[in-house]
């Protein structure tokens, strides 16, 4: 195994070990979408009528509709949370250790991203298992397998966004504000909770904003994959956004920019 792969596997393993030591984080990550699924969706079920839209071939319950959005929510929160830990790591020093490794910085950041995405995917599958226990599931069990690449790509996109943000934020205290300005708009201005045609009924402008939101495309990619369908436009959007966010992160962590600097 070469040095690149040794470092990659060690960074992913470290993320996994850290995650195992933070069980409360795991439970919190699971409770949030479950509350939405079992409380919010149950209440909205009567209020919202959904027509038959792809990839669905029949009328579906609202709970079924929001499953992909809640998978996206787990990826989004986790992506941001791991970047929050990056800001913390940077202040506390372990990010310094990582960045002094004799490997290209882009690779080290990518490895870090892979680690956090792997943890996110584990959480999504746990959530899907709980939803399954409540009888909310895709048409075919193969959907659970088909969704894996969609989760991976969307997870990498949201993790890369978090990474880019973490490089631009100098202090931990500034992060809470960014969370509010990133997570909530991204989640609510997307197709996670309502289909875009429903959004257009109230405001075409809102619909257009939602259609530009990369998170919408991540959710749609997951939605189609769960029903064994492929959404090429969503894939292109997600891949392009990932490339942009990763580029921003690499630029942000460029040593010549000196963002990791501390006065002394």
């Amino acid at each position: 195994m070469n040095a690149y792969l040794i470092a990659l596997s060690a960074i992913v393993k470290r993320e996994a070990l850290r995650f195992l030591h933070q069980r409360e984080r795991f439970i919190a990550a699971l409770v949030r979408p479950l509350v939405w699924l079992l409380v919010f969706a149950a209440g909205f079920r009567a209020a919202l009528g959904l027509s038959i839209i792809p990839p669905y071939q029949t009328y579906i319950t609202y709970e079924t509709y929001i499953i992909p959005g809640l998978c996206g929510m787990i990826l989004l929160f986790n992506g941001m949370q791991s970047s929050l830990s990056l800001v913390y790591d940077r202040e506390m020093g372990s990010m310094r250790l990582l960045l002094t490794a004799p490997l290209p910085r882009g690779w080290l950041l990518f490895a870090k991203l892979c680690g956090s995405t792997a943890i996110s995917i584990l959480q999504v599958y746990t959530f899907l298992a709980v939803a399954w226990a409540f009888d909310i599931m895709p048409d075919s069990p193969w959907g659970y397998l088909a969704v894996l690449p969609a989760l991976l790509i969307s997870g990498l996109m949201l993790g890369a966004l978090g990474l880019a943000l973490s490089s631009l934020i100098r202090q931990l205290e500034n992060f809470a504000g960014v969370m509010n300005f990133v997570i909530f708009p991204m989640f609510f201005l997307s197709s996670a909770l309502y289909p875009l045609w429903k959004m257009a009924e109230s405001s075409p402008l809102l619909r257009d904003i939602c259609a530009l939101n990369p998170f919408t495309h991540g959710v749609e990619l997951i939605r189609f994959a769960l029903y064994l369908k492929f959404e090429p436009i969503a894939l292109i959007w997600v891949l392009a956004s990932t490339a942009v966010f990763m580029g921003l992160a690499i630029w942000g962590y460029d040593p010549a920019r000196g963002l990791t600097r501390r006065k002394g």
Binding site: M1, N2, A3, I6, A7, S9, A10, I11, K13, R14, L17, R18, H21, M92, G93, S94, R96, L97, L98, L99, T100, A101, P102, L103, P104, P255, A256, R257, G258, L259, T260, R261, R262, K263, G264
Partner: protein, 240 residues
């Protein structure tokens, strides 16, 4: 070019504030360099540049003959670092922390285990290999960090105020151990501190003040008859 550490005409500024102004010094292989300076002298900035956390627009750094600007990865591979604040994972064991670091340097499997054992043995930490870092005292955590920094057999070891927060016995033990490493293994050390009792007469003094080198040479010769602490205060206090 030296096989130890060489810094030439290094400058860095934070906006309008000049943090380092034309800093140059050289440490030969096996030399213990004591980087002394009051708070705000520019020690942390110098360390950040030496470890390539950021790069300087002006000047050169060479680690064991590798230019940090031109071949950063070769330079970083020959360098071990102990940062001022701990960079250990508190919830992982000593051994897990060492394995992680070894992997970042491309060392895995049995070789990583062998080197970890040897490094811990050298720091008298072998019996604590499987303890959680959180359960160790401050001195043992520092020893773990030093063991980790030596895992890949670096030629140059940088330590940024490594004894902060330690009791006198732990401080003395770590200081003498690192001096011993220089003598026995030809390791080049740059040890940043503001505690003069950690510096020996045979060491190489690099005195930094307000971003500039005030003195650079043998400690015993530079301090003359006065105690190093008085010598340090005379130079930095008078110019503060």
């Amino acid at each position: 070019m030296t096989s130890g550490l060489s810094v030439e005409n290094l400058a860095y500024r934070y906006g309008a504030k000049e943090a380092l102004k034309g800093v140059s010094f050289q440490l030969e292989a096996g030399e213990f360099g004591a980087l002394l300076g009051p708070n705000g002298a520019g020690k942390s900035t110098l360390f950040s540049l030496l470890t390539r956390l950021f790069t300087a627009p002006q000047g050169r750094i060479s680690i064991a003959g590798h230019d940090m600007g031109r071949t950063p990865r070769a330079a970083l591979a020959r360098m071990g670092v102990v940062f001022q604040s701990s960079t250990l994972d508190m919830d992982l064991s000593v051994k897990q922390n060492l394995s992680y670091f070894a992997a970042l340097h491309g060392i895995a499997g049995r070789e990583a285990a062998r080197r970890s054992d040897a490094a811990l043995e050298r720091m008298n930490m072998a019996e604590r290999a499987h303890e959680r870092v959180r359960d160790l005292n401050g001195g043992h955590r520092r020893r773990t960090e030093i063991a980790r920094a030596l895992l890949h057999d670096p030629a140059v070891l940088l330590l940024d105020e490594p004894t902060v927060g330690l009791d006198a016995a732990a401080r003395q033990s770590i200081t003498s151990h690192v001096h011993q490493l220089c003598a026995d293994q030809g390791l080049t050390v740059l040890w940043a501190t503001h505690l003069t009792d950690e510096v020996y007469d045979s060491d190489h003094l690099v005195l930094l003040h307000q971003g500039q080198i005030l003195q650079d040479g043998n400690v015993g010769e530079l301090r003359g008859e006065s105690a190093l602490s008085d010598h340090f205060l005379n130079l930095t206090g008078a110019r503060a």
